[in-house]
């Protein structure tokens, strides 16, 4: 099976540790991932803001970079959702039948990390060790667009040393929403403030999620509040082992 990493533009530029964690985690599970250098972004920032024409060359870059692989793994529910549910819209808009055919190939082969681990590799215990009090926020696109269900939870529960606490009102949106966070900053912040409050109420030390964009938003608020909660991508928790020093997986 030829597996590739779609690291996502946000992780590539802002959160490389998440990409590294995915590589380390999969390698530990016996899967060597490739990283096609031609990849950039899934196009979601343009699509969700309404710039469909602008998204066409970006989606084309995506399908070109990932053509021919068996599985595309991405540490982002949102980007997986974009590939599976939005690329077809962009391709239709382009009027290019070749692009329509290409996205029909790559879309279904794109897996969010927890889906890949549980469904494709068939593992829930990935051999991680993470001795911290953790709460998990199921991001909207993982939860509702992809329907990852309790997969991330099952993965986290199998981590040794972890103390997993329920996040109240977990399924409610954190308020990030891509350009929503800028175009409707006040509403976004009001939503984020409530999410941050629920996180603080858990007494968790680490907030975990499967999307760094959402974590950047909630984490940025928690940081500003000096709440004493850090945020980590699910991949980084799952990659952590006894050999890691402290929490810096």
């Amino acid at each position: 099976m030829r597996v590739v990493l779609q690291v996502t533009c946000v992780n590539d530029a802002m959160f490389p540790d998440t990409g590294k964690a995915v590589v380390r985690l999969l390698r530990r599970l016996g899967v060597e991932v490739d990283f096609p250098r031609a990849q950039t972004c899934c196009g979601q920032p343009m699509v969700n803001t309404g710039y469909l024409d602008e998204a066409v060359p970006v989606v084309r870059t995506f399908v070109d970079a990932f053509a021919g692989y068996d599985a595309i793994v991405t540490p982002s529910g949102s980007c997986a959702g974009s590939a599976r549910h939005q690329h077809s819209i962009v391709a239709e808009r382009s009027g290019d039948p070749a692009l329509v055919a290409a996205v029909a190939e790559t879309g279904p082969r794109t897996h969010e990390l927890s889906e890949f681990l549980v469904d494709v590799l068939g593992v829930t215990d990935v051999g991680a060790y993470f001795p911290h009090r953790v709460t998990y926020h199921p991001t909207c696109h993982s939860l509702r667009m992809l329907g990852v269900g309790d997969r991330p939870r099952r993965l986290l529960e199998a981590v040794r040393g972890v103390e997993l606490v329920d996040l109240p009102h977990a399924s409610e949106c954190c308020g990030f929403g891509g350009t929503f966070a800028l175009k409707n900053a006040d509403t976004s912040i009001a939503m984020g403030a409530d999410k941050a409050r629920h996180v603080r109420d858990t007494g968790a030390e680490v907030l975990v999620a499967g999307d760094n964009s959402c974590l950047m938003h909630v984490g940025g608020m928690l940081s500003r509040q000096r709440a004493g909660v850090r945020v980590m991508h699910l991949a980084e928790v799952l990659a952590a082992t006894e050999d890691d020093e402290g929490m810096d997986a």
Binding site: R37, Y51, G178, A185
Partner: protein, 492 residues
């Protein structure tokens, strides 16, 4: 009588103001939470809820896709049953029809059942201009009307008001328009409801003309359906001599049997009940029982515009249950007024642009009034994929501005991003630049995230929208792709 939404600012501005209203925030948080939980409970009772949703969506879709045929059938069966059918291209025509029917009977007042269509066309204001008083009889509508206020929810138009505010409105205003509220009125909901009962009863008993909407209109039988709770609907549909119903053309279903999934879906989604207290159905005139003169106004007012939209057409399936409002995290915080329409919340954010287009700034701001979290789609009883329609309407807004001589900064930014994202070498170059910026921030910033990573605190300019309330992690010095190249994917 009541206010209008004309001249409302665009959503972000209206939202900012609403977010600062602490009383509103509390009222809304409480009310949406209560109704959300009630819905979840009764929906969980239905084992095959998902199949029921599919059936509900399908019967509406059947009617919409062959709408002309069903409308003609409806017209014929209504006429056969003794009703007079009128057609109205827009709000103005519809209001004029209602006014002329009312005037033909020489009366200067009508009683009204809560109806979204009549709110949409501004019927009360139009009748007022003709010297006809339109009395709202639904408790929440009465609160809105007496308070010179605007509705902020489809089902519970006064959701933004709490009991103390309602008591004050009743005491201050009821006497001006009819029987005053008792002087010892308390803010107990039961006492307030009793005051409304007494106030409205004299209006019901003397009214000659009633105006309603309809939740459904069955083409094959000419049956209109009104779903309600308080009995004010039954009063209006039964006691007056003349009944005028304003019905959006999308309310049609093909057959009597098609009502089944909808009558099961609506109450559970809407009020969170297995069945609402009262549902009335009638087909034209029944000799000796109820109004002996029955009019039905079939209303377009933008619906054919929405019907022509391949993605947006599904919005016409909406049965106005308001479940999408109640679960919407944006609605919960800003309330209904910020949407500037009688249709607020997620459905309003798609329906208003579909009905009227996105040429004006206020309507164009609505498709963006969502974080695309998808909670609305999950609860919608007729499976309207609201997030997809939102994205499609955003595209309509963008397309509207493609010819602008002076492109918006956002358009330039998106074009630049698309350029960078269309070629990995350009992206790598941009990442090197951001890495440099990260180094600068790391050097000078005194902010760091929990865990130690350097961050930017408050920044000026375009970044202020983000950093006003959130620390921003400094970009790493090395991007993932640079790391991969340097270490051969961690193998070196």
């Amino acid at each position: 009588m009541s206010g209008t939404f004309v001249g409302m600012p665009a959503f972000p501005t209206a939202a900012r103001e609403a977010l600062g209203d602490t009383q509103l925030r509390r009222n809304l948080a409480h009310a949406t939470r209560v109704i959300r939980d009630k819905r979840a409970q009764v929906v969980a009772e239905v084992e095959d809820w998902e199949e029921l949703r599919l059936a509900g969506a399908a019967v509406k879709e059947v009617a919409l896709r062959d709408l002309a045929t069903h409308l003609e059938t409806l017209e014929a069966s209504l006429t056969r049953a003794g009703a007079t059918v009128h057609w109205a291209r827009d709000a103005e025509e519809a209001c004029a029809i209602v006014a002329s029917v009312t005037k033909a009977h020489g009366v200067d007042e009508v009683v009204k059942v809560k109806s979204m269509a009549t709110a949409e066309i501004g019927l009360n204001e139009a009748l007022e201009a003709e010297g006809i008083a339109a009395w709202e009889t639904d408790l929440a509508e009465l609160i809105v009307q007496l308070g010179d206020d605007l509705p902020s929810h489809i089902l519970v138009p006064a959701i933004h008001r709490n009991r103390a505010e309602i008591r004050e409105i009743f005491l201050r205003r009821m006497g001006d328009v009819g029987r005053p509220a008792p002087a010892d009125l308390t803010d107990e909901p039961a006492i307030l409801a009793a005051a409304a009962r007494t106030h409205l009863r004299e209006k019901f008993l003397r009214a000659k003309v009633a105006v309603s909407g309809a939740n459904f209109a069955v083409a094959e039988t000419g049956t209109l359906v009104v779903v309600e709770s308080e009995g004010n609907g039954r009063m209006c549909l039964t006691l007056p001599e003349v009944l005028v119903s304003v019905v959006g053309i999308e309310k049609v279903v093909a057959t009597w049997a098609d009502l089944d999934p909808l009558l099961r879906l609506l109450p559970r989604s809407s009020t969170g009940e297995r069945m609402n207290p009262y549902t009335s159905t009638w087909s034209g005139v029944t000799p000796g029982d109820g109004p002996q003169e029955v009019h039905v106004v079939l209303l377009d007012n933008g619906r054919t515009r929405a019907l022509a939209d391949d993605v947006g057409r599904q919005a016409l399936r909406c049965i106005r249950c308001s479940a999408c409002l109640n679960v919407c995290p944006v609605y919960e915080r800003v309330g209904g007024h910020a949407y500037g329409s009688v249709y607020p919340g997620p459905i309003g954010a798609i329906l208003n642009p579909l009905l009227h287009g996105v040429a004006d700034e206020q309507t164009a701001s609505l498709p963006y009034a969502s974080s695309l979290c998808g909670a609305c789609f999950d609860v919608c009883p007729v499976r309207i994929d609201i997030p997809s329609v939102l994205v499609d309407q955003r595209a309509a807004v963008v397309d509207q501005h493609r010819g602008d001589r002076l492109p918006k900064p956002e358009a330039l930014a998106m074009k630049a991003a698309a350029w960078a994202f269309s070629d990995a070498r350009r992206l790598a170059w941009a990442e090197r630049a951001s890495g440099l910026a990260g180094r600068v921030i790391g050097r000078f910033s005194r902010t760091s995230l929990p865990g130690g990573r350097a961050a930017a605190g408050r920044l000026p300019g375009p970044a202020a929208g983000w950093t006003g309330a959130r620390d921003l992690p400094a970009p790493p010095e090395e991007s993932f792709r640079a790391w991969w190249d340097r270490t051969d994917g961690g193998r070196r």
